[in-house]
């Protein structure tokens, strides 16, 4: 057992000693690196080590949570005391109870990429510089790169619970992105390029830079479109944001509390047959992939929307007990500072058969949305009604035309899903809105508001 796993087990014992009936500890330690470059120079190099522990305790039907960074014997005792005190301040909840064991986790390999440890800081800095150079070389109209960033992280997680759950695993991840600036006749345009992998060896600096350059330059000369209802194609980066919202709406917590547009839709037609969605906590490429979820239940693959109908909600142990269902292994957490709660793992939209060009051809005349802004503020999470700012390109005669800016697209989640006419054949992993893999999507009709 690693030192971290021992500390997790120790924290559980201390919680019981402090008066908890049951306890569950989640400990993590991570090493991160970040490089930011600008103008051919390294702007900052960051090296970090982090460790911390979160402790969830039950006293009867009351739950409390404590966390801290001090993992010494005294520090763990302090965290245990805080968690117990927190539980005493909570009200009783008839469904509150420690998770019970829910089957054997799947053995997973390859969640940690050795190249992360092997590449020196100088080498990853060179990668970040190459991302910037690639954007500048791609197009003469790219005048600068606001910032190019490389980040990697290696993390060990240990879980221990008085009810018996034990788990320990290592993961790694890295990403690089840049914001390219292009100079047009009427002002500046920005474009984001990014790539994700488990280690630096999996990143392609050239294509990341080129994507930023293309996204910035294609917006030169953009104007507002006229307001109308028309076919809309969502870029994978945009589709992913909406799919992320859908993942939240499918969480049993939002459903049970009547705060989800999907609340009364189980088994109902919530999408067209062209839209097929899975939650897959085991996909080898997914960044939320792990043998177990945040409270030790095995990760698994769950069909959410198939044949247009909503097949299930996503459950952790609490919502499963409350909803008289089984956990789907969807307890997630944003780190040791917060207790587990229901969240999607990797959301995967099944690719269709249409190439990018075929999708545009099918749209005929409409709008290609390459970016949306203000999604967190422009969406009503209870009803799914949204109106968000967007930019993109006109689709004219089945081909991409002039660039468009400062317009909004508006609909509600379910109406939009029902209007999905086709899914493209080329999916992409996108880190916005969680961990999502999706192709571009053609929506039959949507409100576009411009001038």
């Amino acid at each position: 057992m690693s030192e971290l796993a021992e500390q997790a087990a120790d924290a559980v014992e201390r919680a019981i000693a402090a008066g908890a009936g049951d306890a569950e500890a989640y400990a993590s330690e991570a090493e991160n690196r970040e490089v930011r470059v600008h103008g051919g120079e390294v702007e900052s190099l960051t090296a970090a080590t982090q460790r911390g522990l979160g402790l969830r305790v039950w006293i009867g039907r009351r739950v409390g949570y404590g966390f801290g960074t001090d993992l010494s014997a005294g520090g763990l005792a302090g965290i245990a005391a805080r968690a117990v005190e927190a539980a005493r301040a909570a009200d009783e909840d008839e469904f509150a109870a420690p998770p019970t064991a829910a089957g054997e986790p799947t053995a997973l390999d390859g969640l940690s990429d050795p190249s992360r440890g092997e590449w020196s800081i100088d080498r990853v800095a060179e990668l970040a510089l190459a991302v910037e150079r690639s954007a500048l070389a791609a197009d003469a109209r790219v005048v600068a790169v606001e910032q190019a960033v490389y980040f990697d992280s290696g993390e060990r997680t240990a879980l221990a619970a008085s009810a018996g759950a034990r788990a320990e695993y290592e993961t790694s991840s890295c990403y690089a992105y840049l914001q390219a600036l292009a100079e047009g006749e009427d002002g500046r345009e920005t474009g984001l390029g990014f790539g994700l992998a488990r280690g630096p060896a999996g990143l392609d600096a050239e294509s990341i830079g080129r994507e930023g350059a293309e996204r910035a330059t294609e917006m030169i000369g953009s104007a507002k479109p006229p307001s109308r209802r028309c076919p809309v194609v969502l870029d994978p980066t945009v589709a992913a944001s909406f799919v992320g919202l859908l993942g939240s709406a499918a969480g049993a917590n939002a459903v049970q509390r009547g705060r989800s547009p999907l609340a009364a839709m189980l088994g109902e037609q919530v999408a067209s047959e062209a839209f097929v969605l899975h939650d897959d906590g085991l996909d080898p490429q997914g960044f939320a992939t792990a043998p177990v979820d945040a409270e030790g239940a095995p990760r698994r693959r769950t069909a959410l929307i198939e044949g247009g109908s909503l097949r299930t909600f996503l459950y952790d142990s609490y919502t499963a007990r409350r909803g008289d269902a089984a956990s789907t292994g969807n307890a997630g957490r944003s780190g040791y500072r917060s207790p587990p709660s229901v969240s999607a793992s990797n959301l995967i939209v099944a690719p269709g058969s249409a190439s990018g060009a075929e999708l545009l051809g099918e749209a005929g005349d409409g709008v290609y949305v390459s970016d949306v802004a203000g999604l967190h503020s422009g969406v009503n999470p209870v009803t799914g009604v949204f109106s968000v700012g967007a930019s993109g390109r006109a689709i004219e005669g089945g081909e991409l035309g002039r660039p468009l800016r400062e317009f909004t697209i508006a609909s509600d989640l379910v109406s939009m899903l029902r209007a999905v006419r086709s899914a493209g054949s080329q999916p992409r992993w996108v880190p916005f809105g969680g961990s999502v893999s999706t192709p571009p999507l053609l929506i039959g009709e949507m409100t576009v508001s411009g001038s």
Binding site: E41, E43, S44, L45, T46, A47, A48, Q50, G52, V63, G64, Y65, G66, F67, T69, D70, G78, I79, R82, A83, A86, A89, A90, D91, D93, I121, A144, E146, Q147, Q179, L181, G187, R188, E189, T190, K224, S227, R259, S338, P339, A373, G374, S377, G378, V379, N380, V382, T383, V385, F386, S387, V388, G389, S391, E406, T408, A410, T447, G450, S451
Partner: protein, 464 residues
């Protein structure tokens, strides 16, 4: 209250700074922090999500030429700090530099009458029950209510190789209320918050009123019509309406964006950017305000900075690096979310100063327009100045009167044009709290203004 010396022993700090400069660099700094907090929530009339945390750690940075070397560790033992210094210096290859001896100069923190940590958790739970009851009592159509309480204390100490040794002790408390109203198929939500850089005394004066406000917003929206679409005059409400100024102008005044040419205000210092009726400030010293601190996170005292004077752009917001690059004074805007982050120029409390127009007159002059009272948030691209805001409480203005509530409105525009189009500033004025994100770091900020009118702006609605 404890002083920064208790958090960071000056003798240890001097050793750490010497170690950080062991392989060269023009400047080194150690930032030590202890943070603790408690959050509670009430949902379905039940107190839940009670969470209590305690973290400590330090960040060490070394500046050499154009490069920043940064390392951070969890823990405040001298060994932790020295390890961070060693890691920050690891990639440097120059001659040792010597830090100056430290001199202590910590200004007084924002005053706290009743430290929230001294208030029993049961009292905080009681406060949430009051909020819950007030929201539910607001009307039979209130289907759900929830509320949250948060307290945080951050003790910080900063020492640098110029000899600065300073610190701050920051306490913040905040409550929020949310309500969901339902009528037939219609479901609407409303929210309201109250927060300050103060202690539990903030809640002496009817704090549960915010729950009623949240409920009223949700109930009002039940009668909402789809928002209009098109270009029209927009009147922005006071207080949280200042988010619009924060987003569309404030970020563009942060000197890091400006120096990279990634701000629409780059090169415009001294130029007219708004009509003469507009004057604006960033003020990190407003007593008790949400964005106020005694010092910024580089140890510079916070200050009141006039950024726009009578329509003319006269100042940017600087941290140590951006000020040094331009040879101007720091403005106390070098902020960081925690010891795990590098300081960057950030707003504190940013506001449009009160004008001389009566709010009724500002609205009364509009034949057909839109009244945006509060925003769900917004986003701006600092380089292009394009922005978008979701309006979560908005109304039609017809013949000089506020008429029907609207749902689903979005304001879309460009910063330079929208700022120049402000043609009335109200004589009413108040501040609201916000959490601002930039570069992956969240910091508390205050926003404020009276009623403000933008002569023409794009409203994107759900109306086809």
């Amino acid at each position: 209250m404890t002083g920064p010396e208790e958090l960071l022993d000056p003798a240890v700090a001097e050793r750490v700074l010497a170690r950080a400069l062991a392989h060269g660099g023009e400047f080194a700094e150690v930032f030590a922090e202890r943070r603790g907090g408690l959050t509670l929530a009430i949902d379905e009339s039940r107190i839940e999500s009670v969470q209590s945390g305690a973290e400590e750690g330090a960040g060490v940075r070394v500046l050499s030429g154009a490069t920043t070397y940064f390392a951070h560790v969890d823990g405040l033992d001298p060994a932790d700090l020295e390890r961070a210094a060693g890691e920050a210096a690891a990639a440097l290859r120059a001659e040792r530099a010597e830090p100056r001896p430290l001199r202590s100069e910590a200004p007084r923190p924002q005053p706290v009458e009743r430290p929230p940590g001294d208030v029993p958790a049961a009292r905080k739970a009681e406060l949430l029950r009051e909020l819950d009851q007030r929201a539910r009592a607001a009307g039979g159509e209130i289907a759900q209510a929830s509320a949250s309480y948060g307290e945080a204390r951050r003790e910080v100490a900063v020492a640098n190789s110029d000899g600065l040794f300073s610190g701050d002790d920051r306490t913040r408390v905040r409550i929020g209320a949310q309500a969901v109203a339902r009528r037939d198929e219609g479901v609407e939500t409303g929210a309201e918050t109250l927060g300050a850089a103060r202690g539990f005394e903030l809640f002496d004066d009817d704090p549960a009123a915010i729950a009623e406000t949240a409920a009223r917003k949700a109930l009002t929206l039940l009668d909402a019509v789809p928002a209009p679409t098109g270009t029209m005059p927009v009147v922005v409400g006071g207080g949280f309406g200042g988010v619009l100024f924060h987003e569309m102008t404030g970020h563009g005044l942060e000197a890091d964006h400006v120096q990279k040419g990634a701000s629409v205000y780059a090169g415009k210092l001294g130029e007219v950017v708004a009509q003469p009726l507009l004057t604006a400030y960033d003020d990190g010293r407003m007593p008790g305000e949400w964005g106020s601190d005694a010092i910024d996170d580089e140890g510079a005292p916070t200050q009141k900075t006039r950024v726009i004077e009578d329509g003319r752009l006269i100042g940017f917001l600087h941290d140590r690096r951006t000020a040094g690059r331009e040879g101007v004074a720091q403005t106390g805007n070098g902020r960081r979310e925690s010891f795990r982050h590098l300081p960057i120029p950030r707003m504190t409390n940013t506001y449009i100063a009160p004008g001389d127009a009566a709010p009724e007159a500002i609205i009364g002059d509009v034949a057909k327009g839109f009244y945006a009272v509060s925003f769900g948030g917004g986003q701006v691209d600092p380089a292009t100045g394009d922005f978008v805001f979701g309006v979560n409480e908005g109304y039609l203005i017809e013949d000089g009167k506020v008429t029907r509530p609207c749902r689903g409105a979005t304001l879309v525009g460009n910063c330079l044009q929208a700022l120049a189009a402000i043609d009335a500033v109200g004589d009413d004025f108040w501040m609201k709290t916000g959490i601002c994100g930039k570069g992956g770091q969240k910091v508390p900020v205050g926003t404020g203004q009276g009623h403000v009118r933008i002569a023409a702006m794009t409203v994107g609605g759900t109306e086809a």
